[in-house]
């Protein structure tokens, strides 16, 4: 029983990491309607940023979260403006190729600049674990859990109660109608892509103390992030959050009770079942909205 609860705790904490990485992907998909295959590499860029700020200026990744979020916002906005925007009217697979190309380019760029060695930030208190009633929780993961909740709540407030948020929602719901209402759709897309990238920037600052960075670190996370996004219903942030929790818990339990190398099989089976029986995802808005 103790092991079960520990596994559950580990699963929830792991889920919060998947959540914080997936929220940005959901935003980009939900609003710009582009599947960003370079999402993992955005994470990698953010992590190298956090590493450099730690190595050159001695900043803790949590402090460098602020410049990195801004940097990734700018980076995401530029990608949208100069890579995705010219392709918006092209077919979907062209956009997919563009993001896949971007992903490969970024990975190789990192390989060129940093080499294949792994880099980590100096150890700090967030790597330690605390013991509550016999169960261990890593401090960095608790922070991630809190930040994931705060991020979803913050985005919710932003989307519901600001004019810009309303414009973003309008664009997501119907691009042409929004255009007719005077919303500058192109600009909204740039902002939304930047916002999605900024979310993953926050994620990278939070992940950095716990995982060393390498050029391929993004590929470790991104497949799970895609599963989470689809599971959550493509465009729903809350869906992504709960989807991430489910994947985290399934990951943890099946790794222990079935076999560590079969855990992916388990959650991909769940993934396929959901696609068969509820193609719009757990929190999808119904057929036709995906």
């Amino acid at each position: 029983m103790d092991v079960f609860i520990q596994l559950l705790i580990n699963g929830i904490l792991l889920g919060s990491m998947y959540a914080i990485i997936s929220v940005g992907l959901t935003l980009i998909f939900g609003i710009v309607r582009v599947v960003n295959f370079a999402h993992g590499e955005f994470l990698m860029v953010g992590m190298y940023g956090a590493y450099l700020l730690a190595a050159k200026f001695g900043l803790h990744p949590y402090v460098s979260a602020i410049p990195i979020v801004l940097l990734l916002f700018a980076f995401g906005a530029l990608v949208q403006r100069f890579i995705i925007q010219p392709l918006l009217s092209a077919e979907e697979h062209i956009q997919i190729f563009a993001t896949v190309g971007l992903s490969t380019a970024l990975m190789n760029l990192a390989l060129m600049i940093f080499g294949a060695d792994l880099y980590s930030v100096p150890p700090s208190v967030v790597q330690h674990s605390i013991n509550i009633g016999g169960f261990t929780l890593v401090i960095g993961q608790i922070v991630m859990f809190v930040c994931a909740l705060a991020l979803v709540a913050g985005l919710h407030l932003f989307m519901q109660s600001t004019p810009l948020g309303r414009a973003i929602r309008a664009t997501a719901q119907n691009r042409n109608a929004a255009l007719l209402m005077g919303v500058r759709v192109d600009r909204i897309y740039v902002i939304a892509f930047g916002l999605g990238a900024a979310c993953v920037g926050l994620a990278s600052a939070l992940v950095m103390p716990l995982y060393p960075v390498t050029p391929t670190i993004g590929t470790y996370f991104v497949l799970t992030a895609f599963v989470v996004v689809v599971l959550g219903g493509m465009r729903s942030m809350y869906g992504a959050f709960f989807g991430a929790m489910i994947i985290g818990i399934v990951d943890s339990l099946s790794g222990y009770y079935i076999a560590p190398d079969l855990k992916e099989v388990v959650y991909f089976v769940i993934f396929i079942l959901i696609l068969i029986f509820k193609p719009t995802g757990l929190f999808g808005l119904g057929r036709g909205t995906e």
């Binding site: 792991l14 490969t104 294949a116 060695d117 674990s129 261990t136 050029p215 391929t216 990951d251 076999a259």
Partner: protein
């Protein structure tokens, strides 16, 4: 997967270059029964004759116009190919391996070369198996080298050795570890370094030989957990480990595979913890090694010993990412490293001195040393041969008989019919105070083995 950066990264991060090996080994092994049949042997023989005839014809054709122009100096030199990955993802350790060969050549030339002939190295850049084949062809047919030295990576070696074998040119492998390289019945392929199986056997044997005595327990009382990343590298190594553990009647309570790309190893750790595992054998790359050590600490898992192999465990980056205090006590089986007792590895200090003088840095890994040792052994064998024909060189290589502890790596040299050195026993090393020091066997040790892992 092949050619993707993730592979490159993994391959780079893995000192012994095992990753690539086993992919190929899986393909090569099934061909053996065919080749060993009478028909296969006949076919093989015919192929070899045809290849030799073609080669001879090519040599005559290319050599004829030049015969009158050949400078006298050419007679005083002997050409060897140096086939390594000099560019691409494997370049760092490929180049490091080459440096060992280069130092061995300079040393030999300074001492008069091979029977008065100066050795000239001709480089071949083997980035991938295709290019390894191309470069091996060039070295054997255009440059007409007397022998090829290489290769660092097993997949490159498996490909290039086939070319050399067909051309009847001796191929000296100094660094690739995949077992099938010397299991294919080739006549002209020889290897000085230890194989993946040797590594696995040393990992398992260190339990009854070193760990159990240090803990004051009987080996069969210890509960053993074998964990491995689930690509062919991990599967091959763990396969050897499981069968060796069964031979030694050890109590293996868990054998778990996991993906090297996993971002969470807590299920693995909790399984080991629940099973009360005392000794963990891990076959891993770099990221998963770091993750395992970090999460082992988080989850309060305190095994009495953890043993790993190769790059994931030997690289200084791994130790830095895990933290010296958490890596403290981790055991590692790999090529001989530099913190080894020079009494058991005569010449190791002189090698480091020469290396520093030539390249201006400390050796970047044990690969250069392993290549240096291997090259020296083969130079002696070639010098003892009355001419440079493959058959005579083979006869001399099989006559080599160096006891363990007589070379710079501490290995001996005695070759099987298959061309594999049977006296290349890898040492057991341990991280102590942020340094990787040799702790077993006793005569090679520079420090006493500690028990326990990390600050646990």
């Amino acid at each position: 997967m092949v050619g993707r950066n993730s592979d490159i990264k993994l391959a780079i991060s893995h000192l012994s270059g095992n990753l690539v090996i086993c992919k190929v080994s899986g393909k090569v092994a099934p061909e053996r029964p065919l080749m060993s049949s009478a028909y296969g042997a006949l076919l093989e023989e015919m192929m070899r004759k045809i290849a030799r005839a073609a080669l001879a014809a090519a040599m005559v054709l290319t050599a004829a116009p030049l015969a009158g122009l050949a400078p006298a100096a050419a007679q005083q030199s002997i050409k060897f190919g140096a086939l390594y990955p000099f560019s691409g993802g494997l370049a760092l350790l490929g180049d490091e391996s080459f440096r060992g060969l280069e130092i061995a050549v300079e040393e030999r030339n300074a001492a008069g070369g091979i029977n008065g002939k100066t050795i000239t190295l001709i480089k071949g850049d083997a980035v991938d198996p295709n290019q390894a084949v191309g470069e091996a062809r060039r070295l054997t047919s255009v440059d007409n080298v007397s022998a090829i030295f290489g290769t660092y990576s097993s997949s490159l070696s498996l490909a290039a050795t086939q070319v050399a074998e067909l051309a009847g040119v001796p191929y000296f492998e100094l660094g690739a570890v995949s077992d099938p390289i010397t299991e294919r019945g080739f006549k002209n392929v020889f290897r000085t370094n230890a194989t993946a199986k040797d590594f696995s056997v040393r990992m398992v044997d260190s339990i009854p030989d070193a760990i159990a005595p240090a803990l004051g327990k009987k080996p069969e009382e210890l509960k053993i957990g074998i964990i491995y990343e689930d690509s062919l590298y991990g599967q091959t190594m763990s396969g050897y480990q499981k069968s060796r553990a069964a031979e030694k009647k050890l109590n293996v309570v868990e054998a778990l595979a996991y993906s090297a790309k996993s971002v969470d190893l807590t299920p693995v750790i909790l399984r080991l913890k629940s099973a009360g595992v005392d000794v963990v054998l891990q076959t891993s790359y770099q990221n998963d090694t770091v993750l395992f050590f970090r999460q082992m600490k988080d989850q309060g898992f305190k095994p009495k010993a953890v043993i790993g192999a190769g790059g994931g465990y030997s690289l200084r980056d791994t130790m830095a990412a895990v933290g010296p205090e958490n890596m403290e006590g981790a055991l590692d089986v790999d090529f001989t490293q530099y913190r080894t007792n020079p009494k058991a590895a005569p010449g190791i200090e002189q090698f480091v001195t020469k290396y520093k003088a030539k390249y201006g840095t400390d050796p970047r890994s044990g690969h250069s040393l392993a290549n240096y040792m291997g090259a020296k052994v083969f130079f002696d064998a070639i010098a003892a041969s009355k001419d440079l024909t493959a058959d005579n060189i083979r006869a001399q290589v099989l006559k080599v008989d160096l006891p363990v502890g007589s070379t710079a790596t501490g290995w001996g040299a005695k070759f099987s019919e298959q061309g594999q050195n049977t006296r290349a026993l890898p040492f057991l090393m341990q991280w102590q105070g942020g340094e990787l020091v040799t702790v077993f066997p006793a005569d090679a040790a520079v420090a006493k083995m500690k028990v326990g892992v990390g600050t646990n």
